[in-house]
């Protein structure tokens, strides 16, 4: 089975991977705040922040192209609003929107790709995020894998009987078959998810994914949180002072 690449990256070994999730969450929130509230000199600030993120990706030993491409997944969504701004006679606003969304997505990828999701959610719980919300995220995460695996099984079974997945979008019988397959996929995933939930309950699951690795906030985590949080603030202040 192929699994989400971010999950694989998050199991890597680097000084960023080793940091406490809370330190990375603080850095991420600061970065997002810096990006969201930036109005002046964005043409200079955006490349500066991008360079900062690239440095973070290098430090985390993550593949640059892969991360940059994945962050671009946000473009089709914000691109629609950027186009609306363009047609409304505000192309600069559209470009700002695109730049901010891309930088934010890349920052999120940097954190998600350096922290296994259970540890990240654990970090959010320790920083006071409501537990109910995190439990929903945990199950969403687990069951996305279930649906993905079931879809891969079905795709293989279809291919073994001579059906190419790309033909399923063609009108007529193939499209009907694809619609039926989608229904079966949901039914099977639902049944499988029930089995998994039962297996979790059987081993005493009470709604919390507990970590085998206990998280201790070390001095190095404090230093990391400070440096990683102050860096985007410093970049913004410098750019605004020099250019703006």
């Amino acid at each position: 089975m192929r699994h989400v690449i971010l999950e694989r990256w998050s199991r890597g070994e680097s000084c960023v991977h080793r940091r406490d999730p809370r330190a990375k969450i603080v850095a991420l929130i600061t970065f997002l705040a810096v990006v969201a509230t930036a109005h002046r000199a964005l043409a200079w600030l955006a490349p500066g922040l991008l360079l900062l993120l690239l440095a973070g990706l290098v430090l985390a030993k993550l593949p640059l192209t892969g991360a940059l491409v994945r962050a671009a997944l946000v473009v089709p969504f914000t691109g629609v609003f950027a186009l609306i701004c363009w047609f409304a006679g505000e192309p600069a606003l559209g470009l700002r929107l695109l730049a901010k969304s891309y930088l934010s997505a890349l920052a999120v990828i940097w954190v998600v790709a350096t922290t296994p999701l259970p540890a990240l959610l654990n970090g959010f719980e320790m920083t006071g995020v409501p537990r109910f919300l995190l439990v929903v995220c945990q199950f969403l995460y687990r069951y996305l894998f279930v649906i993905s695996e079931e879809a891969q099984h079905m795709s293989k079974a279809a291919a073994a009987r001579g059906t190419a997945a790309r033909n399923w979008t063609a009108p007529g019988p193939s499209f009907r078959a694809a619609a039926g397959a989608l229904g079966v996929l949901f039914a099977r995933s639902y049944a499988r998810a029930g089995d998994i939930h039962r297996a979790m309950l059987a081993r005493g699951f009470d709604g919390r994914f507990l970590q085998l690795h206990s998280e201790n906030f070390r001095p190095a985590d404090t230093a990391f949180a400070l440096v990683a949080s102050l860096a985007p603030v410093a970049v913004r202040l410098t750019v605004e002072r020099v250019v703006g």
Binding site: P118, I196, A199, A202, R203, F205, L210, Q211, L212
Partner: protein
């Protein structure tokens, strides 16, 4: 001697109206290994899901003197460990070690103790080398062993294995039989695998239409219900 597991008059009906259990009486003594035989859909898996409260039907189920009811569920689930038929459903953590430690952490053990017991359980099933691997990268036999490790790490009093030899090759079945035979717990094996049941079980109960139709020595049940695979190709003259 008081049986470890006692079931009286257990009845269960699924939401769609299917009557899966129609009055089951059962007992399991400490140290005993019992095979549950019977056709597909006869209620074997539904029955074992009642033993640790994953399903609740009418009738009485008790484990080590504790009745299966909401207030006893956490204690009951510590006493009864179920290895599910589909190991994929049982392995959901990112690494093998974390998966085996899952139940231990839920029991309130600290990380160091949980890690030690999980490592010991992996050693028991011969999977120490796979501790850091992702469960979905293992073979069917390895997944089964890790699933068993996840249960025996919790040191249950009763071990339930649902179709343990399904999807295993003959060497895998042999190796699993050796592993299960060495485990000290009382065991319930839900299986269609007659040689496996003959090798490990002192007794068999035969399920039919949600009831126990008969019980006794495995050989006797197999003969009485003609419960073995035999096929002779008809010889047609050429």
């Amino acid at each position: 001697m008081t049986p470890l597991v006692e079931v009286h008059g257990l009845r269960f009906r699924y939401d769609d109206g299917t009557a899966a259990l129609n009055g089951v009486d059962f007992h399991l003594n400490a140290g005993e290994t019992v095979a549950l035989l019977g056709p597909n859909g006869s209620g074997k898996t539904t029955f074992v899901l009642h033993l640790n409260g994953l399903l609740r039907g009418q009738g009485r189920v008790s484990v080590s003197g504790l009745t299966v009811e909401p207030k006893n569920i956490p204690a009951i689930r510590r006493k009864v460990g179920i290895v599910f038929q589909d190991s994929e459903s049982q392995l959901f953590m990112p690494t093998v070690l974390e998966d085996v430690a899952f139940g231990l952490l839920n029991r309130g053990l600290d990380s160091v103790t949980a890690r030690g017991r999980a490592s010991a359980a992996l050693e028991t099933v011969g999977m120490s080398a796979a501790a850091a691997r992702a469960p979905y990268h293992l073979s069917a036999g390895e997944k089964k062993r890790v699933a068993i490790a996840g249960i025996i790490a919790m040191e249950p009093e009763v071990l339930v294995l649902d179709e343990p030899t399904a999807s295993l090759d003959p060497p895998g079945q042999r190796s699993l039989a050796g592993l299960v035979a060495d485990l000290p717990q009382a065991k319930i094996l839900v299986t269609h695998d007659v040689p496996f049941a003959l090798a490990l079980c002192q007794r068999a109960v035969f399920f039919q239409a949600g009831r126990i139709a008969a019980e006794g020595p495995v050989e006797e049940m197999v003969c009485r219900f003609d419960w073995h695979f035999a096929f002779e190709r008809s010889k047609s003259p050429r």
